[in-house]
């Protein structure tokens, strides 16, 4: 390997001395100039990822607004917005709502349902499993705006859920998204996101050689024991990856709850996730500085969660 490299460098030197401009360029790109290939990607990341983050931190320390005099001339006010943020009952409420939403809809709902469905998909002689898989996939592939409208229609006073409930003699006086905004977005998000966990777990299960199951079966393990001592340890990495990804996504979910509940998050702000809160502050209240502060806090919390996951991954490996 080392020899090969030396050879190519040697060749490049020779080419350089021998002349042609194209040859020289080629040698350059072969050697240290290779990093130039990264430049377009780095420029794009710089413009679309790093700059907005830095700008966001800066804006969160000003009194910038979307309209009014402070849209034109804003001044540096230090960390005042962060103080304002933690005094705002709506923000604290949105923190609570977001955590509950992520735990219930993603970590419990999507992951467990996804795992269950993946296990069912592996079972032989179960009829209609392709149909179930198709339905789950449809929920995942339709645009979020459509899904949001569909859920407001389904949970409307004259929607499907009310119609089903009325069959059992339960009369709904109001629309469900109105009386139970939080529950509606939790269920809608489980419905929407389960497919991803299912795919991930199906792939992980596919990776387990069949003879391991057979060996466990021969050893007399019950189905639960097979799951607990064979399947679970083997897919624990996949579970963690799933947890990391769905946590990030669910914390960032915006369109679906926005379509169902609007930026206020429904009655009593019961479904106002912090993504909705940020939108509400920035676009409805024109207070972009406070919204920027809120999104930075969100970034720190999500980062902490992911680091915690990565740490636990190490632990799981030992286990």
């Amino acid at each position: 390997m080392v020899q090969g490299k030396n050879e190519s460098v040697f060749q490049a030197r020779e080419d350089l001395s021998s002349g042609g401009i194209i040859d020289k360029l080629a040698s350059f790109f072969e050697g240290r100039g290779a990093f130039l290939f990264l430049v377009p990607a780095l420029v794009l990341i710089g413009i679309f990822v790093i700059f907005p983050v830095v700008w966001d931190v800066y804006i969160s320390m000003t009194n910038a607004s979307l309209v009014g005099p402070s849209a034109k001339h804003y001044i540096f006010i230090g960390i005042q917005n962060y103080f304002r943020l933690f005094q705002d009952f709506l923000f604290l409420n949105s923190l609570k709502v977001s955590f509950a939403f992520t735990i219930l809809s993603a970590l419990i709902g999507q992951a467990i349902l996804g795992l269950a469905l993946a296990l069912v998909m592996r079972m032989e002689d179960i009829k209609g499993k392709m149909l179930v898989a198709t339905v789950v996939f449809i929920a995942w592939v339709i645009p979020e705006v459509v899904a949001g409208y569909a859920w407001s229609a389904v949970t409307d006073k004259q929607g499907l859920v009310s119609a089903i409930l009325s069959l059992f003699g339960v009369k709904t006086e109001y629309s469900l998204y109105f009386t139970h905004p939080f529950e509606v977005i939790v269920v809608a998000n489980i419905w929407r996101g389960t497919a991803f966990s299912m795919i991930l777990f199906t792939a992980a299960l596919e990776g387990i050689p069949k003879y391991i199951y057979e060996a466990a079966e021969v050893d007399g393990a019950t189905p639960w024991q097979r799951f607990r001592y064979v399947v679970f340890p083997l897919i624990s990495q996949a579970i963690l990856v799933d947890f990391i990804l769905i946590t990030i996504w669910t914390f960032g979910v915006f369109t679906l709850p926005y379509m169902i509940l609007g930026p206020g998050g429904g009655i009593g702000n019961a479904g106002q996730l912090w993504t909705l809160y940020i939108y509400f502050k920035a676009i409805n209240n024109f207070d972009i500085a406070l919204a920027a502060a809120a999104s930075n806090v969100m970034f720190v919390i999500v980062l902490a969660l992911i680091l915690a996951y990565l740490w636990s991954m190490k632990y799981f490996r030992r286990w």
């Binding site: 040859d23 080629a26 790109f29 072969e30 309209v67 407001s152 609007g262 209240n285």
Partner: protein, 533 residues
């Protein structure tokens, strides 16, 4: 060797991308507008050899020998002003051709259901707003102070039509002595009511409440007859009285709802959000107390209002639909609803009138429909608390309206062209015809010279309201105050706040934190209940 070939390919690839990107950039005809609702009307390339033009198109014949200068003008407006813009575009294009320009209009039409104010604010902030914008006039101070709007002083001064706009209509678009827009429509607000439902409940079909008590009495009577009304109309829910509340309505809550109550809640100047003598926002007052009490009575104590409609996905569409279906008997709303809400081409036309006039078409259908609408839909002036007995206004209404303005970031060479467009939009015939068609009040005095407008009986009636109309306290900071009102009324809807004093204290506290305690004053509060049955 293979490595070297790879490097050649990579070099060629990078050079290709750079050339492609540069080519794409310079070949693009103009700024690309990234929005969901963009449609482009392109002028057909104006041929330079059209010497055979007929005598009727005199304007087009003037520019036959020289090539026209190509200009693209972007217009951003909400769907309610679609017809106005569409009416103006051909006239404007023809006018511009005569002046040697071939103007392509790029339309950014924000569809119904969009929060126009928020959308425009973010477009301005992002630098993607149109060259010419139609905006809600209460945002004049907020947009102008942000440097988003071009001052139009020199333009309006040399425009003879400017004097046709009455002082109030000139004042709305002014900020710190400069004019920033031209009003394209104005409005008044009232209580819409369903005559057929009133009849069913034994209430007069020609109804005009004189006090707030009259409203509550009528609403309670309707409530007591709810099941009969539901049966007669074939509906499954019924609410007597709807006044906008909560954050979903946005500015609608403050303008359509809260101001209509506040202005009649006490004698002037204590019936406002702002005290112009002390230059402070009012944190506590009898008027504010009574206004919150009104909302609490409607939504919590008497339970005569539909809480959930204030949380619908599309609150505007819902309020129009439920009134049209008879699920709401009284609706505090704007004068445009006569046509835009439940008119023949409105968002939610009345089913009965559609059926009744189904045999007809065109203007005969419209006439038939409006005659029918007058039998079903009535409108009454919003009374003051005790109808003037305590010095408060006898009747109240409030006017706003939308204005057309120029984006401050427009390139200098387009300014004149944008102003020409505004002149066409705000010209007498265009504005008057649009107003008559939409049942809106025309902001120009000379609109009455246009037959379509002058012969409209409905517009004639509501023009009466202009005599006692009022305006918002649209100073910088108003948007923040308005948001607080939306928040507090939402808490009333959700039942978090159930008594007016709590609402008032919370308002005062939120107001102080939003505009600074130094800018807030507290007036004495009379806590007498507003309705005792």
């Amino acid at each position: 060797m293979a490595q070297k070939t790879g490097a050649y390919v990579a070099i060629a690839f990078i050079i290709g991308i750079i050339i492609g990107a540069l080519g794409g950039y310079f070949a693009a005809p103009g700024k690309t507008v990234t929005t969901t609702a963009v449609s482009t009307t392109t002028v057909t390339k104006y041929a330079t050899t059209t010497a055979t033009t007929t005598a009727t198109t005199t304007a087009t014949t003037t520019a036959t020998t020289t090539a026209l200068k190509k200009v693209t003008l972007t217009i951003e407006y909400g769907e309610p002003w679609k017809d106005l813009i569409d009416m103006a575009i051909p006239i404007f294009k023809q006018k511009m051709r005569a002046k040697g320009y071939d103007v392509t209009i790029q339309k950014i039409m924000l569809p119904y259901g969009t929060n126009f104010v928020s959308r425009l604010a973010s477009d301005f902030a992002a630098g993607t707003a149109g060259d010419v914008v139609v905006y809600d006039s209460f945002m004049t101070a907020a947009f102008a102070s942000a440097g988003y709007l071009l001052p139009l002083d020199t333009y309006v001064q040399s425009w003879p039509d400017w004097k046709e706009f009455p002082p109030a209509m000139q004042k709305i678009v002014e900020y710190k002595g400069h004019v920033y827009g031209v009003m394209v429509d104005t409005d008044v607000r009232m209580i819409w009511y369903r005559k057929d439902i009133f009849k069913l409940a034994g209430l007069p079909t020609n109804w005009q409440p004189k006090t707030w008590k009259d409203i509550f009495d009528a609403a309670l009577k309707l409530k007591s007859k709810a099941s009969e009304i539901e049966k007669a109309l074939g509906i499954n829910e019924f609410y007597p009285f709807y006044i906008p509340a909560g954050t979903k309505w946005g500015e609608g809550t403050t303008m359509q709802g809260f101001y209509m109550v506040l202005l009649g809640a006490d004698k002037p100047p204590y019936n406002r959000l702002y005290d112009y003598k002390t230059d402070k926002w009012i944190g506590k007052s009898t008027a504010l107390y009574r206004a919150f009490a009104f909302y609490i009575d409607v939504y919590q104590k008497l339970k005569i209002g539909p809480i959930q409609y204030n949380f619908a996905s599309d609150v505007w569409g819902t309020h129009r639909k439920v009134f049209s279906e008879g699920k709401v008997a009284m609706d505090v709303g704007g004068s445009w609803e006569w046509a835009e809400g439940w008119g023949p081409k409105g968002v939610a036309p009345l089913k009965a009138c559609k059926m009744q006039c189904s045999g007809q078409s065109g203007s005969a259908y419209d006439t038939c429909y409006f005659n029918c609408e007058a039998k079903y839909v009535g409108y009454a002036k919003m009374p003051g608390f005790k109808g003037g007995a305590e010095g408060e206004p006898k009747y109240v209404t409030i006017s706003g309206g939308w204005a057309i303005a120029i984006n401050a970031k427009i390139p200098a060479y387009k300014r004149e062209i944008a102003w020409e467009f505004i002149k066409v939009v705000a010209s007498r015939d265009v504005l008057a015809k649009f107003a008559a068609e939409k049942g809106k009040i025309c902001p120009r005095i000379d609109a009455t010279q246009v037959p379509e407008y002058a012969n409209n009986a409905y517009l004639k009636n509501i023009t009466e309201y202009l005599k006692f109309t009022d305006f918002r306290d649209a100073l910088p900071g108003y948007t923040k105050v308005s948001k607080i009102i939306q928040q507090i009324t939402e808490e009333i809807l959700s039942g978090t706040i159930t008594d007016p004093m709590t609402a008032l204290n919370k308002y005062d506290q939120m107001l102080k934190s939003a505009v600074g305690a130094n800018n807030v004053e507290e007036l004495p509060v009379n806590t007498e209940p507003i309705y005792t049955g």
